[in-house]
Subunit: 356 residues, 4 copies
């Protein structure tokens, strides 16, 4: 696909927080012509009316939300992003794929390789198991080459991205044990979506800290699938998500046991070097992963508004553990930014186009 | 000590956030006459001028901050609270104790039984090692009887309280393994004190999530001391504190491995019953510890402004772990409320006096 | 009514933010037995389950929400608080009053003396115009004596309280012109109630500042009624309410023109003295109004959690105006605290009972 | 100046919040080579170390803060931005101007035409009165043509921008009276700068609403200067700034009296049309001013992160007034974005370059 001819793109289910970011990024993308955005709720209104933050220039003033219609989208667009609830996304994807369109799905419908795991975690049979084999997990840092030729991209969610990016290189390199990993994540409220529910009201969230989704959060299924692939053996983690009063951002803290000892200063020095080298090899050239040196720890305010995942880590010789912390914008690297990064790979654009 | 004759109380170093809460509680305490509050910074000003939230009635309008002077305080007061930096507190405590006064110290100076551990974690020799043996750790739920006769109370900090209350009963009862415990805590910004430092500015904290104090936070020394006493063997934990944008509150999430298996529904049922019974035995009659039933998880907004520590827990049969979450107000149950609760025991008041 | 025999109290519509505060205050009130709380939504659940902040002790553990039933409440209770939407409240009040019960209404239904004004501002005919003449406007600082014998109290809302308390004494004393008054108020989000609506989600309110209800907010009707009574002539104000990201609190800023000149230092000195004297006469003995001296300006964080309205003011000789600022907790002095203050007057309790 | 040859730009005093935004914008500006940034505090550190949000790519990784040295900057740069305290800025500007450099000053030093007014409001003699006559007030919507040839630009502050943009067209067109204007502004905490002071700590600002700077805020001097020029007569306003807990953003609410009557529906209709036409004429082609139609009111969250000032308004026939509300990002349209917009005019770039 040439950069001269713009890719025609549509977004289905564009009225939530991820949808808003997706539309914003696509409107600013030099290789994209945004041909359609759909929303049952806002059909007939312009992007500018629904998203006053950025909807007042150029195309956004004209473009109107429409009712979702797979057949029409297959005619209009080369690439269709799906920002729909799980279950619904798969049904929408099938006709688009059959029409030869590229589908980039932000739901969980195509992230699992095994339909049985989907059923275990989501409580109903997978709506399109025959499509799973062609889906590529949309984490470019792990699956860049496969994404280049993909027709169906399963863009991962915010928790998986924040957990996989710090852990996969260490597991692949055998630097940490694959069992006993404990993960705590703190999520901003936009992670819950744009839903009018009591528990996400300002007065219920401000000055509130809470854990939720304990002990079996649905995203564990894809997280453990990818960690297991990285480790070469089944990985099961203890994961506790928390809701904290920021609008955007996820901070993830991982505690793991190195395979090497930390009993002497020499061992600490050696492992420090090996972890540094491991991350440098994995991410030294990555535009959207930033590994802090040993003194720094991530802060979500440094990544919110960007497509960057920041990683910091510390050895704890006293307990013989390593602590790794990651920070990302849950709506960008944790959702829409990453989906656009995948599109760039699929369509042959430079990977950072529209994301800097 | 009779409730008819009021106890004369002084607070040294009363101008921080904990000091403010302490003064507020003591002014409202029916058995207390607040005879002196000290602050180098605010000497000469009334409590009402410095703390406009509550300082406009009765005694608060008259009472003026004064320069700290141990001799004078020993004359004026029966009980002296110290809200001073570590190191300074011990020097202040000595003459007061020699004069026969009761000292309730909110610093870390008297929380450790072993001066060598103090030196390891605080980087300097303990300023008054000879006093350590008479100090009682001020966690009433663990040391109620010893507190009744105490002359020197070492009131624990916010992190230790939020970690010890959920863990000690399980360790004492042998329901969880003493190794491999992972603790993550989220602290409101008031935990950093009332210090004019850049990193605690509104614009640096709002919309910010960060880990800090990794891997060897100073409070680990007292936490591990008390956990080890509960377990009957040396306990070392992996602890990561985080700073999150709430004014008050700590949420602590503990992941631990039960000693019993969770492989069958029967085992899960049995352990559920044993943990329920364990917490009921430990806290069923406690006025300031609230154990939620199996469906509830704590939320700091439900405890901020109270002296209550809320505890919730879930078994995770999938990974064979138990997750325990606690929530408290870091300035009340995590500092000043608890110190007043200790005073109530020392002075023979009903334990909840002035705290409901 | 003697303090020995407790007053039996019921709260109708108790599940919102004001209702929550009302139940909390009444549970702690030494002269009250809370006999019933109603909520269609939560009928059958205990107060402790619905309000975990304070619902874990004593009566709150037993008391269950029930369906509202005026006849039953008339049997059970001496005093009934109505925390219902306008229109509904009046219908509920009628049978209670006919049964000889005291009604303290937190809605707008009985605040206006003139049913025609109600219809103008609320868009429908008043549901019980025959009751208006017996209602007493529940601002104790203005109507204390009439409240002592009242059977129907119309407790004012948060905006009116924050505007009337600073302005009425100045108008009564003729110190400011009654025309040209401009009022801006900033309200915390709890002022919008506990409604699951998109615009009050955390992500829509945090980092958001907005005006709303321009130009004819419904509460203007009662505000101007009371200002007109104070001035002895028709007063019309320019009022702009704003929504700002705090949970609780209202800050109101008034700009008005003194009747006396401010052209010389002598005139400024003279007016300063007259305003001080005016406020001292009006509020010097009031337990819940605090007038700051000339240097201080109110801050909502100093009054949130209390029943106090704080007032500060400055002369502006450059423009010949006076600026008056007030701060209150919108759920306490702006709603439930004030309603309890009224009940104390009606029932013969000391006015501060249960409110300190 | 051609766009082929990049303009060499330096920023003096770049370590505050405005400085941070300025450096970010200039690093992304296609016509700019950022040759130097100065900061006494951070001299020697890279931009990437001090501003981790954006400092990790390209030039930001190399560029180091240096000590400010006017002579060196005059050699290195064509355009120098000054983000310095008032008084200091003027001293720095003089040698740069003498060397033929363009100076864009973000302080208040060159905003007033009359040195006597400066002395009245700032309490000391103007440090460089001889330069005042060549300074151009940096509000492009008012002074576009003069800015094109300017050598010394006095970029206005956040309050003036948020007040002048809504008011100047109405005053110029004679649609509102020039006396009796009342202005209330709500400012985010970043407006106070990046200063380690107690009153701007998270715990002092979160859940706090307060007025300050009453009655004679320093910025009134430039606001009234520009309003008077627009009205053709001396304009004095009543202005009350407030501090509210958002990081960024200013919301300004103006109440003014139309010169035409609003007594009949016809008059309301006529004035509505005239105000619409007035704003359309003034801002219809402006890229950074957005006038909402009659139903919309501004919300800071829609403009934060952009260089846009949003304006909404309502007629109030009941009181015969007009209410105008504006919203802007105090660090962008209220400071650094506007300064870059000015630079674009001075240097002959398209006005929106680097700002979309």
């Amino acid at each position: 696909m040439s950069e001269l001819k713009k890719v025609r793109v549509a977004v289905v289910g564009a009225s939530g927080y991820s949808g808003e970011e997706l539309v914003r990024l696509l409107l600013g993308h030099p290789g994209v012509e945004l041909v359609a955005v759909t929303s049952r709720q806002y059909a007939g209104r312009t992007v500018g009316q629904v998203f006053p933050r950025f909807g007042h220039w150029g195309r956004a003033r004209e473009l109107r939300f429409e009712e979702p219609d797979a057949r029409r989208l297959a005619e209009l667009a080369d690439v269709v992003f799906l920002a729909l609830p799980h279950g619904v996304a798969a049904e929408f994807a099938r006709p688009l794929l059959e029409s030869g369109r590229v589908v980039i799905d932000l739901s969980t419908d195509f992230r699992l390789r095994d339909a049985a795991v989907y059923e275990e975690f989501y409580g109903h049979a997978h709506p399109a198991p025959e499509l799973l084999s062609q889906a590529v997990y949309g984490l470019p840092e792990l699956y860049r080459e496969r994404l280049r030729g993909a027709r169906l991209v399963a863009a991962p969610g915010c928790y998986p991205t924040s957990i996989l990016l710090p852990l996969v290189p260490l597991l692949r390199a055998g630097l940490i044990e694959s069992d006993g990993i404990v993960v705590n994540s703190l999520s901003g409220v936009s992670g819950a979506g744009r839903k009018a529910e009591l528990e996400y009201l300002f007065c219920e969230c401000a000055e509130s800290l809470r854990a939720y989704g304990v002990p079996k959060h649905r995203h564990l299924s894809e997280i453990e699938q990818e960690l297991s692939l990285a480790a070469g053996r089944r990985v099961v983690i203890r994961f506790t998500p928390h809701l904290v009063p920021v609008r955007r951002g996820i901070l993830t803290t991982v505690v793991a046991r190195p395979t090497a000892g930390l009993g002497t200063a020499g061992e600490v020095f050696a492992l420090t070097g090996r972890i540094e080298a491991c991350y440098r090899a994995a991410y030294g050239d990555e535009p959207f992963v930033r590994v802090l040196d040993d003194k720094g720890l991530p802060d979500t305010k440094n990544v919110v508004g960007t497509n960057v995942c920041e990683i910091g880590w510390r050895l704890d010789p006293r307990t013989g553990h390593v602590v790794v912390v990651s920070a990302e914008d849950n709506l960008l690297k944790g959702a829409s930014g990453q989906a656009v990064q995948c599109m760039n790979l699929v369509c042959g654009f430079a990977e950072t186009t529209g994301l800097m």
